[in-house]
């Protein structure tokens, strides 16, 4: 093929002929760029893909020297040097990458493979470049590389231990934090070990494996590990199983956190809790035994017919104080139970626990009489609750009985289904001294109550609020007669309704 001297009709016809030929149709069908050049670097062939990528038509570029037209200046020397080598019949052993500049001045990266056509004497006549555009691929590759670098940096710098192990315990990957956590010099030393060796309890890894293979993901698995120096630490394992195409577990990958300090704190807290529970129990038991002795002794004195009236009054006051102390102990114990006992709520009839509370309150105030009016009847109202319902009513009724200075204490208890139908609204209305507005907000607060030393037996109303919160209800206090708190208090609370 002769190099075109200029852009002539003949050369255009030659191009059209090539395009129509069998070889030409393959060139056009190929997704690759195909460019032909003579020995001067003048373009002799510029396929459709070349036109699409550069924005030039073959007509525009035909016969023009490729280097100043398409090769960026900074890469031109290198490309020319390779071109010279090709002219000498030396094919490169690699696929060079360099940019082309499009008609609009945009740089596009190409990867090239070259070949040449020689004459009968073996002299190179024409050079062909077959290229693919790799601009996007290169960007993706660069992004991938950056992402891998970022991942590796994160893997290496994150303060929790990261790992990948096979089901057999071979360590595939481990980060520096885990190396340090287990007390090893470097990753290489640690990676030779088997993961099962770190478990203080050998059966723990078996349990963990069974769990992860069944659940796929295991979170918060707490176990003791043995460090290189023999010291044991508590760790929390979070991991997932990675499966191959056959669905078999290929490896486990996850993280591991040293929770030794937390665990030690938990153990210490538990021990302290048990100790306080024991002491509370002991104190409650012994104090109530003492209270029993004092109470009976005071009752003996009270029963003495020859006791002067003013002393009888003092004895009764002291008896009330002993009962108050017993109530306080009982409430502290109930607080403890509220925290310990699981919340298992079920539908139950409101009447039995209510009446049990009424009986208990009547017994607690032998020198007072309760006049109760209520619409609570057996089987009439069902609520969702547990064994603390009696405590709830007991403490509220106890407060009303205690606060009312009269011997005859009138209390009205009304239950009604709340507007939304979800809750039962219960009102306990007394005719005691009432609750001033300034106290209404704080009356259920244990500390405020203690400071003021007014309603309740120390923690009684706080206990009431806790029980109602346990059931997902609400409590507040309002005036029995709106706007006049001195007419008595109305404790209103909502309890979730049970099934009728």
């Amino acid at each position: 093929m002769q190099p075109p001297s200029n852009h002539s009709n003949d050369s255009t016809n030659e191009t059209s002929r090539i395009r129509r030929s069998r070889f030409g149709r393959i060139i056009e069908a190929a997704g690759a760029l195909v460019v032909g050049m003579n020995t001067q670097g003048q373009i002799t062939l510029f396929n459709k893909r070349c036109e699409e990528v550069t924005g030039y038509s073959e007509k525009e570029v035909f016969g023009k020297t490729i280097f100043p037209l398409l090769i960026p200046e900074d890469e031109r020397a290198g490309v020319l040097e390779r071109f010279q080598r090709l002219l000498k019949g030396k094919l490169p052993t690699y696929s060079p990458q360099f940019h082309w500049i499009t008609k609009t001045g945009e740089k596009r990266l190409m990867q090239w493979n070259n070949t040449f056509v020689t004459d009968e004497m073996g002299k190179v006549e024409e050079i062909f470049g077959i290229g693919i555009e790799i601009t996007e691929w290169k960007k993706v590759q660069q992004a991938l590389k950056e992402s891998e670098t970022q991942y590796q940096n994160l893997f290496d710098s994150v303060p929790v231990g990261l790992y990948r192990t096979t089901p057999e315990g071979q360590i595939l990957e481990i980060n520096p934090a885990l190396v340090a956590m287990l007390g090893y010099e470097d990753k290489e030393e640690l990676i030779k070990r088997n993961a099962s060796e770190f478990y203080v309890d050998a059966t723990a890894r078996k349990r963990w494996k069974a769990l992860i293979e069944h659940e796929e993901i295991v979170r918060g698995f707490e176990v003791q590990f043995r460090r290189r120096d023999g010291q044991t630490i508590w760790v929390e394992l979070n991991a997932r199983a990675i499966r191959n195409e056959k669905g078999e577990v290929h490896c486990y990958e996850g993280n591991l956190e040293d929770i030794t300090k937390r665990k030690e704190a938990e153990i210490a807290l538990l021990a302290a809790h048990h100790r306080s529970e024991f002491l509370l129990d002991l104190m409650a038991h012994d104090l109530n035994n003492i209270n029993q002795g004092i109470m009976l002794a005071l009752e003996l004195i009270e029963n003495d017919e020859q006791l002067p009236p003013h002393l009888r009054e003092s004895v009764r006051d002291t008896l009330a104080q002993v009962e108050r102390s017993a109530d306080l102990i009982a409430n502290v114990k109930r607080f403890q139970s509220l925290e310990i006992e699981p919340r298992l709520l079920g539908s139950r009839d409101l009447a039995p626990p209510f009446h049990a509370a009424v009986r208990a309150v009547e017994r607690a105030f032998p020198n007072k009489q309760l006049f109760l009016t209520t619409n609570i009847e057996d089987g009439k109202y069902q609520i969702s609750g547990d064994g603390f319902i009696t405590e709830l009513f007991f403490n509220l009724l106890h407060t009303s009985m205690k606060m009312d200075p009269n011997e005859f204490v009138k209390v009205e208890v009304q239950a009604n289904t709340a507007k939304n139908g979800v809750f039962l609204e219960i009102q306990i209305m007394d005719q005691g001294p009432g609750v001033p507005n300034s106290e209404k907000k704080h009356i259920f607060s244990r500390y405020k109550e203690n400071l003021e030393g007014e309603r309740g037996s120390g923690v009684g109303l706080t206990l009431v609020q806790r029980i109602i919160q346990r059931y997902g209800g609400q409590i507040w206090v309002q005036d029995r007669v709106e706007g006049d708190y001195t007419q008595g208090a109305n404790f209103v609370f909502l309890l979730p309704r049970g099934e009728d």
Binding site: D281, A284, H285, D286, L287, N288, N289, N291, Q292, G293, I294, M295, L296, A297, E299, L300, N303, V322, E323, A326, A330, K333, R363, P366
Partner: protein, 121 residues
């Protein structure tokens, strides 16, 4: 006359119980300060007491074990459990106690319970 057997490790309580019961015409026919002593004394008592007043926490043998043994010896025995430990209620009733009262209890309430137990027998 109603007879009663007091089982409690608190000496002071024994004294006040006795004073009260005597005042109310109830005969305290025996006293024990631990469960083991209670079982021994109960075995020898003839006639049996109408009521046993049983504490829970006592040295050597607690009230629940004592109740079980006494009930085995005499299934008709009427044991009123009296404890400062509310958590013992279920165990006490399961062991055979007929009633469970929480300390401190007013004497009037104690008498009321004794009457109910005797009326129901």
């Amino acid at each position: 006359m109603v007879s009663i057997f007091i089982v409690d490790d608190d000496e002071n309580l024994h004294r006040v119980y006795r004073s009260f019961f005597t005042m109310k015409g109830i005969d305290v026919i025996a006293s024990a300060f631990d469960g083991s002593e209670a079982v021994k004394i109960f075995g020898k008592l003839n006639p049996r007491p109408d009521i046993l007043l049983m504490d829970y926490r006592m040295p050597i043998k607690d009230g629940v074990s004592t109740t079980k043994e006494i009930r085995q010896m005499d299934p008709a025995s009427k044991i009123i459990f009296l404890s400062a430990d509310e958590t013992a209620r279920d165990q006490a009733l399961k062991a055979g106690a007929i009633s469970f009262l929480i300390k401190p209890v007013r004497f009037a309430h104690l008498l009321e319970t004794i009457s109910e137990v005797l009326v129901n027998q």
